[in-house]
């Protein structure tokens, strides 16, 4: 479980992205943030663990599985405007946002992004992080190389994208998509389909 303790806190520096930036790019999924998105670090014992963003983000995910009988599922394209969280493990921490893609945010940047001021942004980021800790349970493998997790608040829940070197998990209220190596699984409200090397098994509910 992600433990709420005093070791995890938000950083004091507030940033903005200076250009459109890809936070995740793979053959199946891409997450980008627009220029001018506000950023605050999430720190654990003073070390960078992730970010809370506030601004416009785009998620492109191919929740499509290819079977010998044709493709199933759909391409998901969603645009978010508001706060969301990104957690990172291992070596990617330093590579995602650099001095090239972020700079310190000014008062103008907060209003442009949709916040009243810096204080307002910090409150939103802090509430989002607290809500995330209340809703999401599980162990975060901090040392796992290339592990990234994105959590987009949607009403009372979070849409989650989890990415590692060999797979992706996407979970929302009515869809779960899993890609791990050559195995893909797609679960909807009435059916689960699992496929490997073009062969598939489908389980229908009712």
């Amino acid at each position: 479980m992600l433990r709420v303790n005093q070791c995890i806190r938000l950083g004091s520096e507030l940033y903005k992205t200076t250009q459109e930036t890809a936070l995740l790019r793979s053959s199946k999924c891409m997450i980008t943030v627009k220029r001018g998105t506000l950023v605050v670090n999430i720190l654990k014992k003073g070390k960078l663990m992730g970010y809370v963003f506030y601004g416009k983000a785009k998620l492109c995910l191919d929740a499509i599985i290819e079977t010998s009988e044709g493709a199933l599922g759909k391409a998901i394209t969603k645009e978010f405007n508001g706060p969301f969280i990104m957690l990172m493990g291992g070596e990617v921490k330093q590579a995602v946002l650099s001095t090239v893609t972020v700079s310190s945010a000014t008062n103008d940047d907060f209003t442009k992004a949709g916040c009243k001021n810096a204080q307002n942004f910090v409150e939103i980021a802090s509430n989002t992080w607290k809500k995330f800790l209340r809703h999401v349970e599980g162990h975060w493998p901090e040392n796992e190389k290339n592990m990234r997790m994105f959590a987009f608040p949607q009403n009372d829940i979070f849409e989650i994208v989890l990415s590692s070197r060999d797979g992706i998990v996407y979970a929302t209220t009515n869809t779960v998509y899993i890609l791990k190596g050559d195995i893909q699984a797609l679960g909807g409200s009435r059916e689960i389909m699992v496929t490997r090397c073009g062969k598939s098994v489908s389980i229908k509910y009712g």
Partner: protein, 181 residues
């Protein structure tokens, strides 16, 4: 559950027997062909029969067996009136047929039968089609649910319904061709 498995195994055995019989017929026909010089193409026809059988069996299993996390159940067989689900929606059928009544769209579907392709690959594969026409056809096919486009890589893939429909109309066309002879 065991009874269902036994039924499925029995059906599998029956299919294998049918395959063997068809192989025998094929070799007999082949002998006859070399004797008489009549060319009979049976391979495609044989595959169609086996595939039809398999689809039929799969459909029957799906209709009659319910698999849920709590177990596997056999559904009661409904007899009598045709359900609302089974009734023909002529308007819907006509709109699907309109989508399919275009040579380029059928060529696109056929090209995608062997795996996902980018628009540029399709443009090369389908002679005499402009980029704008291709884009328009792809959009129509996607809206109908016969193909799907990946949002990241941008490849086009044929969907399960797309694949089934293309096979059905292909078979229909061959049946009509046969009946004309």
């Amino acid at each position: 559950m065991n009874a269902d498995r036994e039924k499925i195994d029995a059906l599998k055995r029956e299919i294998n027997e049918l395959k063997e019989r068809l192989d025998k017929i094929e070799s007999a026909v082949e002998k006859e062909r070399t004797k008489t010089g009549i060319e009979i193409r049976i391979e495609g026809f044989k595959n169609d029969i086996i595939e039809g059988l398999m689809n039929g069996i799969r459909g029957e299993i799906e209709k009659s067996v319910l698999i849920s996390p709590s177990g596997i159940y056999v559904r009661p067989v409904k007899k009598g009136k045709i359900s609302e689900k089974e009734k023909l929606d002529h308007g819907k059928i006509a709109s699907v047929m309109r989508v399919l009544s275009n040579e380029h769209r059928l060529k696109i579907l056929s090209a995608l039968m062997n795996g996902g392709k980018y628009a540029s690959d399709l443009e090369q594969k389908i002679h005499g089609i402009s980029a704008s026409a291709l884009s328009s056809h792809l959009k129509i096919l996607e809206e109908t649910g016969l193909i799907v486009q990946e949002s990241v890589r941008g490849r086009y893939l044929i969907t399960m319904p797309g694949r089934v429909i293309l096979k059905i109309i292909n078979r229909l066309a061959r049946l009509l061709e046969e009946s004309e002879k």
